[in-house]
Symmetry: C2
Subunit: 368 residues, 2 copies
């Protein structure tokens, strides 16, 4: 008996597992991590009100979630100063990304991104047969001018830009992006990934009319709102584009506890302010720990800090491996020259105590 007949596209995709979670690393090591600082999760957690809202909603978990996320979508519209028709709720930015790529990209279609930017976007583009065209980072920033010029050159249907950036933590002023938009080619959509926007200075989010046909922006409850495990994010864009997702999205795909939690999280501005202060303290502390070890850091508008290990990618990888061996989960950029850095999430004081404790040994081992 023969097996199933996969599509040509599926047969062309690599069989390797593209993403490995920290739990898998823990199982492979046979030991848990002491500090979980690799996935830019919010170690400060969701607000108590958010937890309470999710607990209460568990009583109704036997019901499917509202497929239109009506209440949350209306609250998000008020938050984003647009109409509910401009808002789409989805299974995290990763889920939204996959559906967006599916809407636009057929095999052979061109897409532009930065070399070393969010790998899950690349995964989805490859998964639908798109052809990725990459431009380099410029001084550790994704560069809108290079991206849009590349989009022109290759006729890209979609271009990816994260602001602030992951994995470097750098950012552009929103006003600069608004101006740069004039160079976006006609018929090319900018996917503006704002997963970390709540950690950025005022003015980082560009002013863009929700009905502007050139841009779709995506935000998440996984980072500042501390709900990574709930899988909920949202997109803002022109009503026609938002409606087009109804052709393909998993209409009953939302976890209803996540829907209830997101609504509570959005309303709890005090907790958000608390998390923002904690993240600022943690960024300062990571910088201090780096300096104490003769290293430097990049300025960050996110809940993580890129620590420049002062050597090449192999050296940074050796530092990372030595940290992991000492029970600290961290990750690193995977393209030169960004991969001279390791990326450390903003932990609580006790998490960063562990980092401070083991970094000297890790550096010593990597050098030795």
């Amino acid at each position: 008996m023969t097996g199933p007949r996969y599509t040509d596209l599926i047969q062309s995709l690599p069989s390797t597992v593209p993403f490995v979670g920290p739990e898998e690393q823990e199982r492979a090591r046979g030991a848990p991590f002491r500090a979980r600082l690799g996935a830019n999760e919010s170690l400060f957690g969701p607000s108590p009100k958010t937890i309470a809202a999710m607990q209460a909603e568990l009583a109704d978990i036997w019901k499917y979630g509202d497929p239109s996320s009506h209440e949350l979508r209306h609250a998000l519209a008020a938050h984003m100063a647009c109409a509910p028709e401009n808002i789409l709720v989805g299974e995290g930015i990763d889920g939204l990304l996959g559906n967006l790529v599916r809407l636009l990209i057929a095999p052979g279609d061109a897409v532009a991104t930065s070399d070393g930017a969010y790998p899950t976007f690349n995964y989805h583009v490859a998964g639908f047969g798109g052809v990725l065209h990459k431009v380099p980072y410029v001084e550790d920033h994704e560069d809108p001018s290079l991206l849009f010029a590349k989009a022109h050159e290759v006729g890209a249907k979609l271009v990816y830009l994260a602001n602030p950036d992951n994995p470097m933590g750098t950012w552009h002023d929103g006003a600069k992006l608004t101006v740069a938009l004039d160079d976006l080619p006609e018929g090319c959509l900018l996917l503006l990934d704002e997963a970390y926007i709540e950690f950025a200075p005022h003015g980082t989010a560009p002013t863009i009319d929700a009905e502007d046909p050139r841009v779709i922006r995506m935000r998440t409850f996984s980072k500042a709102h501390g709900m990574a495990g709930a899988r909920i994010g949202y997109a803002t864009g022109a009503a026609g584009l938002i409606k087009s997702f109804d052709k393909i999205r998993n209409h009953f795909g939302m976890n209803r506890v996540a829907q209830a939690g997101a609504l509570a999280a959005l309303e709890d501005r005090e907790w958000l302010a608390h998390v923002q202060r904690e993240v600022q303290s943690a960024r300062d502390r990571i910088d201090q720990i780096a300096r104490d070890n003769g290293l430097t850091t990049l300025p960050s508008a996110t809940n993580f800090v890129a620590v420049d290990c002062g050597g090449d990618g192999d050296f940074a990888k050796a530092v990372l491996d030595a940290l992991v061996a000492r029970d600290v989960f961290v990750r690193m950029p995977f393209v030169a020259p960004q991969n001279r850095c390791i990326r450390i999430s903003c932990g609580r004081p006790q998490d960063l105590d562990v980092l401070a404790e083991v970094l000297p040994e890790a550096l010593s081992e990597a050098r030795g």
Copy 2:
């Protein structure tokens, strides 16, 4: 400025919203339902141990879920008497369906199903450009012989069969399916949807080696385990097929509270037995209510009952509308002759009291 450039396939798909939830109906009506009996949710809820496990897991909701669902996958392997490599955990059967169709179906590829069977499967097939070939129900049963003959005729890569069936509640003995499998064409995969299997008589689930390359079976925590709003289901199939999902699935797509709840639900066999007893009582009660009103019901191996309204589809629709107008949420089959029935989920005694109260008026209105 022009908008985004959608793929040809996306442009060919209908713009109508294919699925409407009961919340949307409630908003349109301006009133809540008194009895929610339309979506085959489990009104008996998840087990208290499942709720407790989910509550406890909320403390860790700031962490992404384990992308390999390691612990749950191993528990499911023990449950299904196969290897963990034969198990895939996903975002409900709907999510698993979408990814399976994506693996196999390119535009123009043939797929076989029954006319009136699960519409979400059809939605995903259309969404990837597949061509659906339908065979009729035979005496209110999906018919494996007709399905497999059609698959032969059209060269289908995939054939859908639910056992027990939704929306009719009928079923086939597992041994009969095992024999019928010999007629499945070479290179055609049978998707066996067992969403309702826990409500079926012993022997309904066929004995199929997990490594049999002809079959992938899907089950869910949405029905008997009362976790529809959590979005978690699983597939069992040959290791190579299961691994192929790693090429396209949303690796960090699982809600970690759902993962924890599913593990607890799987272990609580007592609660499952309780729900099975309650569902049997509810099936009997729905049958009695139908008889009290001069109607008949179909035998059911699910947590719902198809009530034959004794007329054509228009008459059944009139009964349904009259029930909805009286605050009872129900749905109905959408293809003749199955659409002579309405489909009523197994509610608690208080839910079925409402049905008993309003059905006479609804019938009177529909007749009148």
